[in-house]
């Protein structure tokens, strides 16, 4: 339970929900999953099904609160620091400026681009799985994913070593 809840929490935070609201969304996701468990046919992995519910709950939550789930302020808290209000200087050094900038770049994406990138690249779903979760055709999904990656790449360009070879 703890492992699944923390995973969903991380995903919801990356979808753009602020920390306190993300915990509420996690609760609502699991409660809704519990009520709908009879409808889970096992055609998809349990976690893929849970992602779908988490996306719906995130959108529902934000709509209810009149919150725009669009770009999150660039100075918003990096995910690595959520739940740890005072990370040590050593922790900051370990995570590095690049990772923090990367988190900010992801959170600055519009929601329709952020979700494909979180599901495919960070959560490691296959293109087919992530497209199913988003209820998109693979072609439309790939197009959003590519745009999202290009936007993050552009935001990160100053941090990347362009001399690096494949």
């Amino acid at each position: 339970m703890r492992r699944h809840a923390d995973r969903v929490y991380a995903v919801v935070l990356r979808f753009g929900a602020p920390g306190g609201e993300a915990e509420e969304i996690v609760q609502e996701t699991f409660v809704r999953a519990w009520h709908a468990i009879g409808g889970f046919k096992g055609e998809s992995q349990f976690f893929t099904w849970l992602y779908r519910i988490a996306i719906n709950e995130t959108k529902r939550h934000m709509t209810r609160r009149g919150t725009q789930l669009e770009r999150v302020a660039a100075d918003d808290t990096p995910l690595a620091e959520v739940g740890d209000p005072a990370p040590s200087p050593q922790l900051r050094a370990e995570h590095g400026e690049l990772r923090a900038a990367l988190e900010r770049a992801v959170r600055a994406l519009p929601m329709d681009y952020r979700i494909p990138l979180v599901l495919r690249d960070i959560e490691g779903l296959s293109t087919a799985q992530a497209a199913t979760v988003m209820q998109l055709g693979e072609s439309a999904f790939k197009s959003r994913l590519h745009r999202a990656r290009l936007a993050v790449r552009e935001a990160m360009e100053d941090y990347l070593d362009v001399e690096e070879t494949p």
């Binding site: 703890r2 739940g83 992801v106 293109t127 590519h146 990656r149 290009l150």
Partner: protein
């Protein structure tokens, strides 16, 4: 890009085609023929070559975020979930 207008036009067509497929290339989701087409163009186009290199690095860093320590949901939330499940 040197050459006449037809060569330049062909180059730009390849450029646009390649630029739209760099993610699929990195994901290994192109046919072998299309992979070769991407490699041929990126081999002669400094801009696409640079975008591909930085996109590859961006993707590697994004994948690395999965292994970042997870923030934890408050214990009280877990307790409420355990009771409701």
């Amino acid at each position: 890009m040197n050459g006449g207008p037809i060569k330049r036009w062909m180059f730009m067509r390849q450029h646009q085609w390649t630029a739209a497929r760099l993610s699929e290339y990195l994901d290994g989701e192109l046919s072998q023929r299309d992979e070769e087409r991407v490699e041929q163009h990126t081999g002669m186009c400094p801009e696409c070559s640079r975008v591909l290199a930085t996109l590859r690095r961006t993707l590697r860093e994004l994948i690395g975020l999965h292994d970042e320590p997870l923030p934890s949901v408050a214990d009280g939330v877990i307790e409420r979930l355990r009771r409701s499940w």
